[in-house]
């Protein structure tokens, strides 16, 4: 493995800007790494060798500059990339090449970031393991028999196996943070509306949010700054300056900060080893000068059921656009079947089981006669969860909890039990319903597998996440002799 793949994004950008390495060399080192290990990890659905090298050449020619110019990145296959396949992990979009770039994609290109390819995900981002991908699961680099989290498990696996220093995910109920937690990496869901959803294939529009994945907190902050910002093409985009996330990550200072431990995000459903690492991290934050108290958010107990009504309801509506007419698959167009029959045949064949399950569930929750008891009630619970956050943030600056209730579980362990899979999102969902930013940052190992600590902040106070995350990371670097990833086992390389 080339040493170039072991660098942080900051170090990579420095090596390129100081001409110690060329962007092409860096891109090639990562493409070689992908060829070496991705047969086992399966982080990528598509590797764009030509596009990556062409972008790297532009950086080397001085056409593109910036703090992350020349740094390679793995992009979740939910963002449209002009001329480059975009599948959302689904057979219904197999082979589709978008005619335009998502705003996030355009921003990456303009910043000189080198997109290596598109990463695997649960189909339409519905899942917590990548096992619902129509193209097979990704594997956790810490233990190839285990899940890398989901839905953005391809992105987390890519950075945890040194195939890219940066990645991008989307987080509707935890799809950035839970994969980060179980792979020992950093993942951030920015404030809802901070990152444009234009060109992001929609799952649940009121919850979906793109965000950065990285091996260090500062790297995530730099990517956050590139991705975020107002976009007139997304009517839910917030027209306000991006919070000073990079400055906060460099300060890495929690002295005087008031940190609340959420009482309801512990106990039943949380593994003992996860809880132990979390408790130690909280003690560490206290020793770094933060004031820690326990905070109660009584309606968080209802976040999971509210989410599993709201998200499928929105999905059942959003996925109606896959109608076998404008893009993607068409099945049964034999000159006899009607348009409606072709639609139904196409959708039945193009969507996987979890997607069908959620479309049916959402259609049920929105049906007349059930609407008030399910979708309507879930929206009211969403208000109560928001009020819990507001009450908590009146007395503390951030909230913390374990990011995922368990360490990475074995592939297949929860595949036949949808409810068990849904419970992976216990701790992450409240922030999606509220809209506030949240981060998962590594806080140690349990049974040799990574554990993540979640930090949650008020809307548009994303910088607070980075203060806490960076302070914790710096304290752990002393203890571990490097970031948690320095403890990751060496991946067996493919014999070719």
């Amino acid at each position: 493995m080339s040493e170039l793949t072991r660098l942080t994004a900051v170090q990579t950008a420095e090596a390129i800007s100081s001409r110690q390495s060329s962007a092409v060399e860096v891109a090639q080192a990562h493409l070689d790494r992908i060829a070496e290990v991705d047969g086992q990890v399966h982080a990528f659905l598509h590797v764009d060798t030509e596009g990556a090298l062409a972008q790297a050449r532009r950086v080397d020619a001085g056409e593109l500059t910036g703090p992350l110019a020349g740094v390679p990145l793995a992009l979740k296959d939910v963002f449209c990339t002009k001329g480059v396949p975009t599948t959302v992990g689904s057979k219904i979009l197999e082979g589709w090449r978008p005619p335009y770039d998502a705003t996030v994609t355009s921003r990456l290109k303009a910043a000189g970031i080198v997109v290596l390819g598109k990463t695997n995900m649960d189909e339409f981002a519905m899942g917590s393991s990548t096992e619902h991908s129509a193209y097979g699961p990704s594997r956790n680099p810490w233990d190839l028999t285990r899940i890398p989290g989901g839905s953005g498990g391809g992105s987390s696996a890519a950075i945890a196996s040194w195939q890219a220093p940066l990645a991008i995910g989307t987080d509707t109920g935890g799809s950035i943070r839970q994969p980060a937690a179980v792979t020992g990496t950093v993942g951030v869901k920015p404030t809802y509306g901070a990152v444009s959803r234009y060109g992001l294939v929609a799952f649940s529009s009121s919850l979906d949010q793109g965000g950065p994945c990285a091996r260090t907190v500062l790297d995530a902050a730099l990517l956050h700054e590139v991705m975020a910002g107002h976009d007139p093409r997304d009517s839910t985009s917030i027209d306000a300056p991006v919070p000073p996330v990079v400055e906060a990550a460099r300060q890495a200072d929690v002295r005087g900060m008031r940190i609340g431990v959420v009482k309801e995000l512990s106990g039943d459903g949380y593994e003992v080893g996860v809880q132990e690492r979390f408790d130690e991290a909280v003690e560490l934050l206290t020793s770094l000068g933060a004031t820690v108290t326990e905070v109660s958010c009584p309606h968080f107990a209802y976040a999971l059921p509210a989410y599993y009504l709201i998200a499928p309801s929105e999905a059942s509506s959003n996925l109606a656009r896959f109608d076998a007419v404008r893009y993607g698959l068409r099945v049964g167009d034999d000159g006899v079947n009607s348009l409606e029959e072709v639609m139904a045949l196409t959708r039945a064949q193009g969507f996987g089981q979890e997607v069908k399950r959620r479309i049916i569930l959402g259609t049920y929750a929105l049906s007349s006669g059930y609407y008030d008891a399910y979708y309507g009630q879930a929206q009211k619970v969403r208000t109560l969860i928001t009020r819990d956050f507001q009450a908590a943030f009146a007395v503390v600056d951030v909230l913390v909890s374990p990011a995922a209730p368990t360490v990475a579980f074995p592939l297949g362990a929860k595949l036949d039990d949808p409810l068990a899979m849904y419970r992976q999102d216990l701790a992450t969902i409240p922030s999606n319903l509220y809209g506030g930013p949240a981060m998962s940052v590594p806080c140690g190992l349990s049974e040799g597998l990574p554990v993540g600590l979640q930090v949650m902040a008020p809307t548009m106070q994303d910088d607070r996440l980075y203060r806490v995350g960076a302070a914790l990371e710096a304290a752990y670097v002393d203890r571990w002799g490097g970031p948690l990833m320095s403890l990751a086992p060496t991946l067996p390389t493919l014999e070719s």
Partner: protein
Amino acid sequence: MPEITPEQVAHLARLSRLALSEDELVALAGELDVILGAVAQIGEVAAADVPATSHAVPLVNVTRPDVVVASLSRDAVLAGAPSAEDGRFRVPRILDDEA
């Protein structure tokens, strides 16, 4: 606790344009029953006088200046279609033969 029948799932499948097999209808009925049983606990929350939240960002009627900008070309859009003809999306028949 709701009891979902395969017939109900068949109705939902028709509404959502999914041609599901008999096996899928039976399996989904059971799964839906379990999931609805679990999410039904939100009914415990007293929320009669609580307003609904549909969206995290309190924005209404976002507008932009009415300025003409470039759009995608027709060919670029049709290139992704499963079937196109004469510069248009080609669709299966939408009317009965006698219509």
